[in-house]
């Protein structure tokens, strides 16, 4: 196929109690949704350290979703509010880093919301697909000029050293 559609890789962090169960439910109900999201289970959305998100981007993810129980329904009472605060902080920083807002999403999904989670995933995949690959590592490849430049220095030095003392 010539113009193959870009298939983004999205990492999702799902809380054990609501959103992971929503994913279970989506499965049990045989709801088909985009395969691009790969899920990692944590006990609570409050466990999601911003480092996880940054790491996922650095390791090649094109988008990251954090999913937790609805506000007020956290199985750990109120820890999803902390997830929300951190998400806002992270979004603020990522914006400054030039990462488009659509690449990170905080999704509330209760254990009963398989359909909603699936739709949110579809929506996000569409959005990230439109944004295109993030390809973060590409950012510091210096267009492959480095080795040539260093070689030039080596050659220059070799030349100098050949000059008789």
């Amino acid at each position: 196929m010539v113009d193959e559609r870009f298939e983004p890789k999205i990492v999702a962090f799902l809380c054990n109690w609501c959103s992971y169960r929503a994913a279970d439910l989506a499965g049990t109900a045989r709801i088909k949704y985009e395969p691009n999201v790969r899920m990692i289970r944590v006990m609570c959305s409050g466990r999601v350290d911003p480092t996880f998100v940054l790491k996922a981007f650095a390791l090649g993810a094109d988008g990251v979703m954090i999913a937790g129980c609805h506000p007020g329904e956290c199985h750990y009472l109120e820890q999803n509010y902390k997830a929300m605060r951190r998400f806002n902080m992270l979004k603020h920083t990522l914006k400054a880093m030039g990462v488009e807002e659509g690449r990170i999403r905080l999704q509330w999904a209760s254990a009963a919301e398989g359909v909603q989670l699936a739709s949110a995933i579809n929506e996000m995949v569409d959005q990230v697909r439109e944004l295109g690959p993030l390809n973060w590592a590409q950012n510091w490849h210096e267009d492959g000029e480095v080795e040539a430049a260093i070689q030039r220095i080596e050659e220059e030095h070799a030349e100098v050293m050949e000059v008789p003392a």
């Binding site: 109900a29 045989r30 709801i31 088909k32 949704y33 359909v115 699936a118 739709s119 579809n122």
Partner: protein, 186 residues
């Protein structure tokens, strides 16, 4: 079950054309709209029934019915609806669809709306004398209502403008309206 974009049914069209219209999916058919409606007794179908008909895809029957035209925009149904369906706004949507599809049986109401708008687009303001005259020349809606003495009293009470007032920026207004008309509905 597949979560993909749904096909374009009449229900979807109505919802898409109405801000907040997706609440229509959750209609309980409880009838608090039909029960609240001041013109409910005179409607061919109560709003509740209209929603059932929309769900059943009865597009022509819905757009032909007098229901949306009998809506008085009192918003009782909207504030009482237990599912927060923007019922009055859906009635506006249905009116617009009916005009576009030329599917209304009774011409009075749609023509009244269009006469009204004709003035607004010509002058920037509405104008009762002209509106009434024009409307009454083409229709006779208030069969029991004698327009002439009514107008005369209005006139003697200095409550009728004899000439329409045209706003200064009518050109600007028309440009804005023309641009707006090229846009898709919300």
């Amino acid at each position: 079950m597949n979560v993909t974009k749904s096909n374009h049914t009449f229900l979807m069209q109505v919802m898409d054309a109405t801000l907040g219209g997706e609440a229509l999916l959750t209609c309980l058919q409880c009838g608090s709209c039909g029960g609240s409606c001041p013109s409910g007794p005179d409607m061919e179908h109560t709003p509740r029934r209209i929603f059932a008909m929309i769900g059943a895809g009865m597009r022509d029957e819905v757009l032909k019915s007098n229901t949306p035209w009998y809506c008085v925009s009192c918003y009782y149904c909207t504030v009482r609806c237990p599912k927060e369906i923007p019922i009055t706004d859906i009635m506006y949507t249905l009116k617009q669809m009916a005009i576009e599809a030329k599917l209304y049986d009774d011409r009075d109401a749609p023509d009244f709306s269009q006469s009204f708008i004709g003035f607004v687009e010509n002058y920037g303001r509405s104008y009762e004398v002209g509106l009434a005259t024009r409307f009454h020349l083409t229709h006779s809606p208030l069969k029991k209502f004698d327009y002439a003495p009514f107008a005369l009293t209005m006139l003697t009470k200095d409550r009728l403008q004899l000439r329409p007032e045209r706003i200064k920026g009518i050109g600007q207004l028309r440009a804005i309206l023309n641009k707006a008309k090229t846009m898709e509905d919300m």
